[in-house]
Point group: C2
């Protein structure tokens, strides 16, 4: 995998994260697991956005990142794209990033759950951790109130 030429501007990364947070909040309002994601092109174009749909659709395959990827539709290449997600991507979503050559992952927080982002970094993906307090509080509160549902979502 080729590295992208330039590290992302922090202000831009935070603006992208806001889209993922909106998605997470929408999921929570629907009674779902509050994780959101969005896929951005190198020029800042929003390609797709989505949130976890396990509860809403009874669909265990729709994590936030896969929902955003799906919403983006078919593409010839993902070179230069950024997946922004409110939470560190699990192995399933990390595998998605690696297989399709997504260049960068912006992570709201990796404190409540730590997925495969170090593995991705070792395979040339730029990882940006924002340690966002709102993302952390939203997940911490959700996991505390819904431990069984959360464990189901990560196969534990």
């Amino acid at each position: 995998m080729e590295r992208i030429d330039q590290a992302v501007d922090p202000a831009r990364a935070r603006a992208w994260l806001a889209t993922a947070v909106e998605e997470a909040r929408a999921g929570l309002a629907e009674g779902g697991i509050p994780i959101g994601a969005a896929l951005y092109d190198a020029d800042g174009t929003l390609l797709g956005r989505g949130h976890n749909r396990r509860v809403q659709d009874g669909d265990p395959s729709m994590h936030a990142e896969t929902a955003a990827f799906r919403a983006a539709g078919r593409r010839r290449t993902y070179r230069g794209t950024t997946m922004v997600t409110t939470l560190s991507p699990c192995w399933y979503c990390s595998g998605l990033v690696r297989q399709f050559g997504i260049s960068r992952v912006v992570i709201g927080e990796a404190g409540t759950f730590h997925g495969g982002h170090n593995w991705l970094a070792g395979h040339g993906v730029e990882i940006v951790r924002l340690d966002d307090p709102e993302c952390a509080a939203m997940m911490r509160d959700f996991v505390e109130k819904n431990p069984a549902l959360w464990n189901e979502d990560i196969g534990e």
Copy 2:
């Protein structure tokens, strides 16, 4: 991840593969990429089956394994389950297997494409390679006739 107690009976693995091959053929007949998969419970119950739907639904997130996983619906645990697939699982589908603790992967062939099955073996997943000539011929023929579509499906 816990290892499962007993290796799969080869006749059973071949019977399960037949379901995945039916799915692959159905995908081909629809004009799609001929990869099929099925998820079986430890007692041999079919939990879900599906095939790649990139072309049919314009959905890049529906690989054969994710389609079978989705069809199986929500489950508390995947311990003891087997994912059978006509082709070695890509990183995306390998990540699915690892994250959800699927115990075994039965692979029709890994000659035309080699995904993450060695990585899974290193994480305690039982890998059964059947080196099935029909699976290999179906993929070889498809890739030869549709190289751009195949490269799109694996992000290359």
